[in-house]
Symmetry: C2
Subunit: 470 residues, 2 copies
């Protein structure tokens, strides 16, 4: 017998799974469109050289590579690779189409990406990202609108307890400069810092020591974060509001990096984002977090992560990346984006039972019974009429006992069953049975559609019937 | 400068492309659901062994293979492969989940597949298939419902001239048996026959000769198709209706294969499908075509292809495959499916200008002008209110000249522009300019949403506003 499992870390989605995913995606898409973002789609596979060197060394190892084909297959070499995120393909598209795209190109993209990570709870090798990016402006309005849009997504999905953590790569650069790290060491430290949550201060120290970084420098850097940690504890102890805590953290960051020009400017930017976000759906949702690093190497400005209690890791993140598009186009194009992870959002919605009940739709509203092989034409005609009226209709394919067919319909959650037995045929009638009540009526053939509509209006399928009945 | 093109044979979809694709997909999905099909999704990558040996030799060469990772990458071996169609993954899923799936599992699946074919007009290396399959019944109701559903799709999209060609693998098997081909030669002949349209009778003869098949046998087989061809010409000459031609073809096929038991049964099945399809949306759409072969090796019964004048190849096809699921499950499970090719349907719709005008939506209905850097908060607040009312709203990110901002909005197709200048601010008002007419009014801040709604109702954006305003 053959292997019947999907590939490791990848999943099949059965009908109920797809319906839930489609519900969340439709909410996300609808909100993104309200913020003026337009849809973009790119191929699953990119030329290998498009992806290499964009994400940093650790990520390069996680890229799925596609073998050359035909006579070149035996070389064992790859020329294509599966999309690793939606940002690098966007940068490529913007470079290719920059002449025809609007000056401010705001796109959303909801597609799968593939990473050869070790599978774990909430971590898959094929997963969907729901991205928004705004290209062409360095104005902070962009960062604020991105935070507003993702906040609106979470509110519309029914989350009330999400938080957007905010930091700035230039603040981190300033802290690293001031601690004494050389610039070419920064990326390694940021990747280690990104794991602070998981491996703790001691873990970060070991990780950086193993990479040959000076213990003294590492110590100076971690001491800064120790101060931040104590500050957070103190402020929680004094039960300050989030806004007061944010202000306190900004002041301390200003103290730390005040003498570093880019650092000081970055702290000021964070202050502005915080303040102006209060005019949007992101009001009171943003928390300054100086330890937020984001692993990917392409960020250059503000960085953000969104999370909610109980989720396996963050639910999304993003930031400003003003140099990436320039790698393709040869001139700088400012850009900033936010990516939501669909699987973790769905996982949390599932745990919290946040899906509306009408997402769990039955496959059909009506089932037509097949009375006998000889009445196949009649069954098909009934189904044709009901479908022409916009109803979701199934036809039982085999001429088996009526009791068996009724049971099947009931198990499938069908609201009404339709049949023409010998008696109904003689009278030009059709029998309609409502499965929830067991009630059965016989109606003239030409009143079937109207009768079914009335019956469905009395069941929970009502909203579905109306949706399809346009 | 880096490569900025997508991978060979693959495409980026800019916003207008995505909107057209989404329109067609939503029609297809809606029709499929009216026929009682449920959504399924499977991973882009499958274990290599899942795909190998299912499609025939020619197809195996076109599978994109994924290199092993980490320490195994250097081996040059592949362990995964990109989905080649949606049928084999379905067979795997049915085998894995057979205990929990309903007895008659009807699923639709709309996802991309990848084939390393030489790119040509209407032929890409990444393309979407829109499949329906019904698992668990050998009844012909299944074939008929599939033809009805795809006919309904084409009618709903606005096609009036499509045809479904129908043949039967058992009829072909009978013809091949009676011509004297050994069973292990059948697949090769079917693949050659599949090209009859493109390479003509002489081409097929050469192709089969090159494969070492007996010229006499090839001649006997092609003579049968010669007869069919003459029959078709005669009947067109006598201007018979499609129905009369179908009946004539069935009679002749019956003559050819009458003494072959499975062949005779297959001809009778085609007759039943033809007759009963007239009770559905497939009425008068089916044409018997004895030369239809379908390249894939897994078909066992009726086979179908749908086409319309002017399309680059067929627009979709399918058939019965009663043995494929058994390859995974170890026991026979009957199955039949139909797959539509999204790209070719879209290509033809594009040539014929069949997209409704509201598919070409502007990215936003309203744009908020950024009067000055100091008024950023005010602009964000206006946008927040308008979006909360369900409108699609953009905010201009840079505090540039108002004229420049207006021009940008007009070029983007935005219906109305909103701004608060110094004068409006002093009066607690907001200015609303309708770009199509140039008309500008100032309204109190608290009447903004209502005013915009009235303005939009007067533009072609009306339907969009109503959709989002629920």
């Amino acid at each position: 017998m053959m292997l019947i499992r999907p590939a490791r870390g990848m999943r099949d989605f059965l009908p109920e799974d797809v319906r839930r995913r489609d519900y969340a995606v439709s909410v996300i898409r609808d909100v993104y469109e309200r913020y003026g973002f337009e849809p973009l789609e790119t191929p699953a596979a990119e030329n290998l050289e498009t992806l290499l060197g964009k994400y940093g060394e650790e990520s390069n190892k996680l890229i799925f590579k596609i073998l050359k084909r035909g006579e070149h297959e035996a070389s064992g070499q790859a020329d294509l690779a599966l999309r690793y995120d939606l940002t690098v393909p966007l940068a490529r598209v913007v470079a290719e189409h920059h002449a025809e795209l609007p000056r401010f190109f705001k796109r959303y993209q909801i597609q799968p990406v593939w990473r050869a990570d070790r599978p774990a709870r909430g971590r898959f090798r094929e997963f969907y990202q729901c991205d928004i990016d705004a290209i062409g402006s360095k104005a902070l309005v962009v960062e604020i609108e991105l935070c507003a849009a993702v906040s609106d997504v979470f509110k519309t999905l029914g989350f009330s307890d999400f938080v957007i953590r905010l930091n700035h790569r230039q603040v981190l650069t300033a802290l690293l400069d001031l601690s004494g790290f050389a610039r070419d060491q920064h990326q390694a430290v940021l990747i280690a810092l990104d794991k602070l949550d998981k491996i703790g201060e001691e873990g970060v120290r070991e990780d950086l020591g193993a990479r040959g970084l000076t213990p003294h420098t590492v110590q100076a850097f971690l001491a800064l974060f120790g101060k931040v940690g104590r500050l957070l504890e103190e402020n929680v102890g004094e039960s300050r509001t989030g806004s007061q805590l944010n202000q306190a953290l900004l002041l301390h960051l200003q103290d730390f990096v005040g003498q570093h020009e880019e650092g000081a400017r970055a702290v000021a930017e964070m202050g502005q984002i915080l303040e102006l976000a209060n005019a949007t759906a992101a009001e009171a949702r943003i928390s300054i977090d100086p330890s937020l690093a984001r692993g990917l190497s392409y960020y250059t400005g503000a960085i953000m992560e969104i999370s909610a209690p109980g989720s396996a890791g963050s639910l999304g993140g993003g930031g400003r990346y003003d140099n990436l598009i320039g790698m393709f186009l040869g001139r700088e194009v400012p850009a900033c984006g936010f990516s939501l992870g669909l699987e973790r959002i769905l996982g949390l919605m599932d745990e919290r039972q946040m899906f509306p009940s009408d997402v769990h739709e039955a496959p059909a509203q009506v089932m037509v019974v097949l009375w006998s092989a000889a009445s196949t034409r009649e069954s098909l005609e009934l189904a044709t009429d009901l479908r022409a009226a916009g109803l979701r209709v199934d036809v039982y394919p085999e001429p088996e006992g009526v009791g068996k067919q009724f049971k099947y319909a009931a198990r499938r959650g069908v609201a009404a069953v339709v049949l023409v037995g010998d008696q109904e045929r003689a009278l030009g009638q059709v029998a309609v049975k409502t499965l929830s009540t067991g009630e059965q009526v016989a109606v003239p053939r030409d009143r079937l559609v109207e009768t079914i509509r009335t019956k469905l209006a009395g069941t929970r399928a009502q909203s579905i019937a109306v949706t399809h009945d346009s």
